[in-house]
């Protein structure tokens, strides 16, 4: 089953919003550049997809959380609690997300979709970036391995919704990375979902409140 454009758009938009939290807070200056770049790519694809559906700002700024169709994974904070910003967690999240996006976009590009043809190249870079960091952190210090294992474990349950219909192909991408990173592949178990039906976590409404506050305070104007 192919995901709807709004699903892919909301995945990318919410991912861009989350990634923006990293601005000026990355572990290295190179990573500040890289994370902003990935956020920009996600935002760019989100805009193209939203434009293909309707008015991008209307869709981004005027819908409530129950109208969003992103999977739960992208709305999670980068750590166990709201406000957390853990780099290992972010890389595990990006590994999972980019691997899925890359497969989805590749399928769509093959079917002749122009937006996906652009997006597939970018997501290949995101996947590569996240894979490299997963390996470095998994096979780095004792502390980084422990943090990375915890991150890949904690986010894993949310990958079921993310990879609906492409699970096997996705596993074929992700498992070798975890292996190279000397990390234990998490067990399947709990499979939270609901995002595609608008049933989100408690995190999304906070994310959207911040994103939409200014836009909503000035209805109908041009920026």
């Amino acid at each position: 089953m192919t995901p709807q454009p709004i699903e892919l758009a909301d995945d990318a938009l919410v991912a861009a919003q989350r990634l923006s939290e990293w601005v000026s807070r990355a572990p290295t200056l190179e990573e500040d550049v890289a994370l902003a770049n990935i956020a920009l790519d996600q935002l760019g694809v989100a805009r193209l997809l939203l434009q293909s559906i309707g008015d991008e700002d209307e869709l981004a700024y005027r819908r409530g959380d129950a109208d969003f169709r992103n999977c739960l994974l992208v709305e999670l904070p980068f750590g166990r609690s709201r406000g957390d910003l853990d780099f290992g967690w972010t890389m595990a999240w990006l590994l999972y997300l980019a691997a899925a996006q890359h497969l989805r976009y590749a399928d769509l590009a093959e079917a002749g979709d122009g937006i996906a043809a652009k997006a597939v190249k970018e997501s290949a870079y995101h996947l590569d970036h996240a894979s490299q960091w997963t390996v470095r952190l998994g096979d780095g210090t004792a502390e980084s391995r422990q943090r990375m294992q915890e991150a890949v474990d904690e986010i894993w349950p949310y990958t079921h919704e993310l990879t609906e219909g492409i699970r096997e192909r996705w596993l074929a991408v992700v498992e070798p990375v975890l292996k190279e990173a000397t990390l234990t592949r998490p067990q399947d178990g709990w499979k939270p979902d609901g995002g595609r039906k608008g049933l989100h976590t408690e995190h999304l409404s906070y994310l959207l409140a911040e994103m939409q506050a200014l836009h909503r305070a000035h209805p109908g104007v041009t920026w």
Partner: protein, 316 residues
């Protein structure tokens, strides 16, 4: 020609000093200080603008702002690289920023209180930066001059975007217009202060001029900036917050009220509205990232060792 004589000949001939050339120690140290301060300013400067990325009121503006802040990180990278050619490491420079020994531009110690600040910063702060920096594209130190060419190109792109964003607000709803005017009211004098103390009180200037690092005086650049801004403000339809601003036919320049240099000194010394916040933010980002940098280094060492081992195997 050898040694300092060669250095002076190159400077006199308007040629570039390159990293391997002999140069006076004061020239080297002064350049490190200046380039480092410039690099630090790019890094700290990500914060006030980064503050509005998650709240940008349209996706297009969000993308523009995100790209701009990304460019600032990139400028930081070129500038640290330029400084490194003078024999310091990026780690040393980072340490000097974090412990407060080296400074960054005081303009970033003011808060960004509304979205209109993004426009005002683009127009005024980037505008002032460009006026300051364009002459540096011709400065005597090659790596710095080349970095500045790239930086200035991108900055002038940002400046146009900021101006355009402010123009939309100034021509928008009454609330948007008020927001734009308020932002200009708050950013005007801090922008004028970016050119530094008045010439009568400026240290280092004469030597910097002689060495062709600096090419115009603080007051000359400030005047150039004011002359540039007045007609732009008219097009925006916004008022610069200076009742004494008027054209002086005789001088061929605008007369204007000087910024409060005592305030500038207070902010430089650490007592601006956001000095502590900016430094805390930077220090926390650095310390939060320590485990990541350590892991990357440990991994790189393992990888090198493995490579060495496999080479030994091949050789055996």
């Amino acid at each position: 020609l050898e040694g300092t004589a060669s250095f002076e000949a190159i400077v006199a001939a308007d040629q570039k000093i390159e990293p391997r050339d002999v140069m006076p120690e004061a020239y080297r140290k002064g350049l490190i200080r200046q380039i480092a301060q410039h690099a630090h300013s790019e890094i700290i400067g990500m914060q006030p603008e980064g503050n509005w990325i998650t709240r940008a009121p349209s996706l297009r503006r969000k993308a523009i702002l995100l790209a701009k802040v990304q460019d600032e990180a990139g400028h930081g990278l070129y500038l640290y690289a330029a400084a490194e050619t003078l024999g310091v490491t990026r780690d040393e420079l980072t340490e000097a920023l974090l412990n407060g020994r080296q400074k960054y531009s005081s303009i970033f110690n003011y808060p960004t209180l509304t979205w209109a600040d993004m426009g005002a910063i683009g127009w005024l702060v980037d505008g002032a930066a460009i006026v300051n920096q364009v002459p540096l594209c011709r400065c005597s130190y090659g790596p710095y001059a080349r970095a500045m060419i790239r930086v200035c190109k991108e900055e002038s792109f940002h400046q146009r975007q900021g101006y355009q964003s402010l123009y939309v607000l100034a021509n928008g709803s009454p609330a948007q217009r008020a927001m734009a005017q308020d932002a200009v009211d708050r950013w005007w004098y801090p922008s004028l202060a970016m050119f530094g103390p008045p010439d009568t009180e400026s240290t280092h200037s004469a030597q910097s001029m002689e060495w062709k690092i600096k090419r115009f005086s603080n007051d000359d650049l400030r005047q150039r900036f004011v002359d540039m801004c007045v007609p732009q403000a008219e097009i925006l339809g916004l008022t610069l917050p200076d009742p004494d601003l008027r054209w002086n036919e005789e001088r061929g320049h605008y007369d204007f009220t000087q910024p409060d240099f005592e305030e500038l000194m207070r902010v430089v010394k650490g007592d601006g509205p956001c000095n502590r916040q900016r430094m805390t933010h930077r220090r926390r980002a650095h310390s939060d990232g320590a485990w990541v940098r350590e892991a990357a280094q440990a991994y790189a060492e393992k990888a090198r060792a493995a490579k060495g081992a496999s080479r030994e195997e091949v050789m055996a």
